[in-house]
Amino acid sequence: MPGADGTVWDVAVIGAGIVGAAIARELSGFGLTVALLEARDDVGDGTSKANTAILHTGFDAKPGTLESRLVREGHRLLGSYARAAGIPVERTGALMVAWTPEDLAALPALREKAEANGYDRCELVGPQEVYRQVPALGEGALGGMTVPDESITCTWTVNLALATDARQRGARVLLRHAVTAVGTAGDGTTTLHTTGGLVRCRWTVNAAGLGADTVDRLFGHDRFTITPRRGELLVFDKLARPLADRIVLPVPGKTGKGVLISPTVYGNVMLGPTAEDFTDRRATGTSESGFAFLRDKGERLMPSLMREEVTASYAGLRAATGREDYLVAAEPDQRYVLVGGIRSTGLSAGMAIAEHVRSLLADCGLALTPRTDLPAPPRMPNLGEAFRRPYQDAELIAADPEYGRVVCFCERVTAGEIRDACTSALPPAGPEGLRRRTRAMNGRCQGFSCAAAVTDLMERHLPAGAR
């Protein structure tokens, strides 16, 4: 049992979503021993797996907030990290479309807001230009604003890369370790009671996403409550991709960013998300009303999209707190940092949040010595259509025929990639984890043809004890 062996970690990070994984990676770059605790049986299985995967510039954040700064910095940090780690990023740009006179009137102020957020490349365009850029739009667009640097990425690979990197740098990833109670010892260490045993540490970072308020209460605070805001999404067939070669945004309203249309790096088109407040933190099901709402929106935004098949639908929960900013706070006495309310921009901001947490810890007196022996970032398997994939790579196939054996036909995933995922440093716990690592079974047939073959391969290659 970890902890029982007397190990005292310098830092324990709670939650292996994008934010926690980024923090663990950052801190393990400084001669510290780090444990990354995750309640579930895989990393990246919370909100970080179900979002719209846009690498935001932060053009529409509230100027002056922590979120504004961290999204802007995160956009840059993740952009260059993605190149080093082989995470697919496509700079498709976004077009914000005004559908009403009020929308149109709001655009100039939005451009000014973008400038206040340090982003000065937005341009206002007329209806003709709007339809030139996205001919498939429904009738009635009055004008728009371009955001050329909004990009799309693969949220699964980002999360997995950060966690893999943290592990390579020496951090321990402790899965099935849900923190249930917190105790302090006289020597200034903290004991985390978890479903996987006791974990002792000197410093704790709470990056528990939807569970961050609960964990915060375990530390004796009562300062915020998370209201999960469900976002449902529809993913359309790859044959729809020519309809949307860039992100199409609505003009934001009171209830949030609104429903967008976005290409995905896997070559699909996505429509969503909805925004609906919940109390059940496990309410990741989809609903009849959500589908009806999206159908209706889609019919107006892009009627031809609605003639295509739906490949997938899912729902994610934003960790809304009722505040218009992140809630990041250090408690030096408790040697504890709260990273809460990372609602709808955490994928973009994650790496910058990690740097921010690192500087907060330094301010609290944690000694940080940069390591000179850091390994290079991991090279992640490419899941993006804009970059070469194994089934297209003659040399790779010649070296290992398993990369020429396509098993999941819709997504063109090869036996070699499934084997690699199962034998990697952080193997999947089951079919869902395998989908996020390879795209297998994510396609239009949803396993009609390949479920048996994929499951066989997974069972063959997963190390004993990984499942």
């Binding site: 009849e288 589908f291 396993g447």
Partner: protein, 414 residues
Amino acid sequence: MTAQVLTPDAVVVGAGPAGLTAAAVLARRGARVLVLDREDTPGGIPRHSDHTGYGLRDLRRLVSGPAYAARLAETARQAGADIRTRAMVTHWTGERSLAVTTPGGLLDVRAEAVLLATGARERPRPARMIPGDRPQGVYTTGQLQTLVHGGHREVGSRAVVVGAEAVSWSAVLTLRAAGCRTTLMTTRHARPEAYAAFTVPGRTVLGVPIATGTRVTRISGRGRVESVEIEQIATGRRRTVACDTVVLTGDWVPDHELARTAGLVMDPGTLGPVVDTALRTSAPGVFAAGNLLHPVDTAEAAALDGAHAAERIARRLASPETPAPGVPLLAEPPFRWVAPQLLRPGDPAPPRGRLLLWPETHVPFPRLTARQDDRTLLRRRLPWPAAPGRVLRLPWPPALPLDPKAGPVTIGLA
């Protein structure tokens, strides 16, 4: 390192009943024919369909799916066709050229003629937009059969089967073989779609109740399916049915990716490519056959399509052709589609001399007419019913008094 170039006379994409039968005919006609299939073994869907019901009209006897698949593959091989499996056709590199991924490397196949025989699949849950949780235990029939056929995989103990067509009964049989009882079948239609030959013994021998006029409105369960919610469409009344397995059957969509990326003219009803009665698509030298054209008919119908297309491909290989302009054929309600969809003067009758129609309502003894402008070309009273969920076959003569300059021919009820 680049792709290996292959230059057969004809390339067939898909080694299902349609593709294999076409390949056998072409090889017998002396063509060099290459068959590509992405699966480990040739045969298409029947490979995993472990029950009898195949081969009546083409092999002239009833055999099991796997036996049927093996038979067709063997016949094509003996005729001289080159069948390559684990060969995934990924995209077009030219009008009649295809890029292929195989464990042996990339292929660049350049042929004189292409036959698309890529089949059809059942719509999975997301495409049907059934809301709710995302538990394990929800399958399509195809998926269920590959899992069960592969052995070792466990199914639950109580299933709800969505659909009551022939394929739905195929799912019930597979479930039964896997030790899972079907507690309910549901269908949107007012009566079961399958032939009475399935439905009557199904109801009595297998003891499966059928909820007609219903739709599934929700799937619930954490981890594993726990229940489905079913709505009586007419009244809106809903009830919950406990089960641990859901099989979504029927609701076919053709595997039309290659057809669409070739830029072929597509039919909005079948969602497959538009073809004439010689099974030519809109691209010269590109033909199509099987369930890609009519989702979904029996394996034997797909096979006979394949033979029909092969005859036309063999002719084209022998002497280049310029097909005459055609007259479009349109289906009127209650038919969702008709196949083929283009009539050219001088072309042969459609495969087996039958047009295929997809009815959306039940009609006991349909009287059909084909009209061009205000002229009636054909009147037929069928001695069998039109039923949703299965193809209606309409005998169609080779030569009709078509006016090539007039408007489209429409087919509907008299």
